[in-house]
Amino acid sequence: MAAIEVEHISKKYGEVEALRDVSFSVNKGEIFGLIGPDGAGKTTLFRILTTLIRANSGSATIAGLDVVKDYKKIRNQVGYMPGRFSLYQDMTIEENLTFFATVFNTTIKENYYLIKDIYQQIEPFKDRRAGKLSGGMKQKLALSCALIHKPVVLFLDEPTTGVDPVSRKEFWEMLKALKVQGITILVSTPYMDEAMLCDRIALIQNGSFLDIETPQEIINDFKETIWSVRSLNMSALLNDLRLCPGIESCFAFGDVHHVTVNESLLTIASLKKQLQEKGHIDIEIQSIKPTIEDCYMQLASK
């Protein structure tokens, strides 16, 4: 029995098709990533699977329970961290956790072992109001509250947005530990390095799933020739590269630009010459392997 089974789900808001005929399944203990631009349908999918809204057509089960007929049972068995801050700002850390435990008919003590590694980091501040916490601490509290009733499936909607890189890394270490406990995790994220940490990811655009594979498979499917290019004036370089014949796409990637190339029209040597003629200096061009972000950019630009 799959932990999550989705069959031909569609959802419309008025004229807008938020989800179009989406089908997929997630295995127990998998970390399954949803990647896609804003408006792609990720949050709508979360809301359907956590039984907060109903699809127009199709069906879905969570741990074998139907999202429509068995919604009450599902609500006891899933944990949900929605996109925005979901906790009570004027209650303390401890009060928030106690509240959620009580709502699910349990106590902090009963499932403390499950959240220990996460909660211990914020426990010294347990009398601090949730509204006064920094981004990283809020995420840890929200995760603790989503886990306190020992859910079988965890739904995380962009849990690390607004959190600094160090805290993000810590958060994903915690997710890996939860996976070991057998908890299934469906997570959406705008961070491509986090996409790499998932067992499988689904790329979503305009309400449809474009691709569902392991991160490595998605990278292996990338067939274009890709180079990294830099010069002293990166802003001008971006514009100049886009005008070069043979350059199919050009995107900024931190301290270099990535270009996909039609090799029958362009070689590294001829590109360097063209850039020199445009006045660029300190030019470095290298052939590189694609990253998951390159794959995303290619799909997004279609």
């Binding site: 990283g136 607004g162 890189p165 971006l238 931190g254 950019m297 997004a300």
Partner: protein, 248 residues
């Protein structure tokens, strides 16, 4: 970028809340036309520092000047001469696109005729002509961010403060957003931006990293990477932020 013209300067800028020192004697300058990245872990004091620079919070001690005005004594003049965009609030969701532009432009004292002309230019540049009557709440997040940024510099301020402008936005939209930032910097607008995306730190001319209320590093990304002997800004950040003593 004009290194001779300093648009932000601080000297021992400090903010205390009771016994807690959120910002601890920070001293730095930002040059005209620079894209300056203001980084730090959650709880490091970034937001508190930015609030002081925007004239939203008074320093406990030390001083600062933004766009030539004293942040302690002339905070209202500071506010009038800067642009500001935050992830948490940017535009009025229940107003239309053109209404938001009109509202903010009016608040910044622009004349009606200028507002009308510039609104058309902006809508055309962003490709938003068909959306002028759309309520902002109906726009996808990436469009909101682009519109919000454009509104924040609509009055052509000397400096624009961006507080995590691309938080939660997908990779493609983020890049489009940064191209808008480049264009603004090319026009001479100084950009002061905080971000948690380390690839965006690379787009900045210089970057500062705050840890426990203090600026622990300030230099160009190239120099910072050399200084710490690493390949990426992410590694620079880890090396510094991991030393942080604040619970968070």
């Amino acid at each position: 970028m004009n290194e001779n013209n300093i648009v932000i300067e601080t000297k021992d800028l400090t903010k205390r809340f009771g016994h807690f020192t959120a910002v601890d004697h920070i001293t730095f300058n930002v040059h005209e036309g620079e894209i300056f990245g203001f980084l730090g872990a959650n709880g490091a004091g970034k937001t508190t520092a930015m609030k002081m620079l925007c004239g939203l919070s008074k320093p406990t001690s030390g001083s600062g000047k933004v766009a030539g005005y004293d942040i302690g004594k002339q905070s209202e003049l500071v506010k009038r001469n800067i642009g500001y965009m935050s992830q948490k609030f940017s535009l009025y969701e229940d107003l239309k696109v053109w209404e938001n532009i009109r509202l903010f432009a009016g608040i910044y004292g622009m004349k009606d005729k200028d507002i009308a002309i510039k609104t058309e230019e902006l809508l055309s540049r962003l490709g938003f002509e068909s959306e002028r009557n759309t309520l902002v709440k109906s726009l996808p997040l990436g469009w909101k961010q682009k519109l919000s940024f454009s509104v924040s510099i609509f009055h052509e301020p000397k400096i624009v403060f961006l507080d995590e402008p691309t938080g939660g936005v997908d990779p493609a939209t983020r890049r489009q957003f940064w191209e808008l930032i480049y264009q603004a910097a090319d026009r001479g607008i100084t950009v002061f931006v905080t971000t948690h995306y380390m690839d965006e730190a690379e787009y900045c001319n210089r970057v500062s990293i705050m840890v426990d209320g203090v600026i622990e590093a300030l230099d160009s990304p190239v120099n910072l990477k050399k200084q710490f002997g690493v390949n990426g800004m992410e590694d620079v950040f880890y090396k510094l932020a991991r030393k942080a003593k604040r619970g968070e």
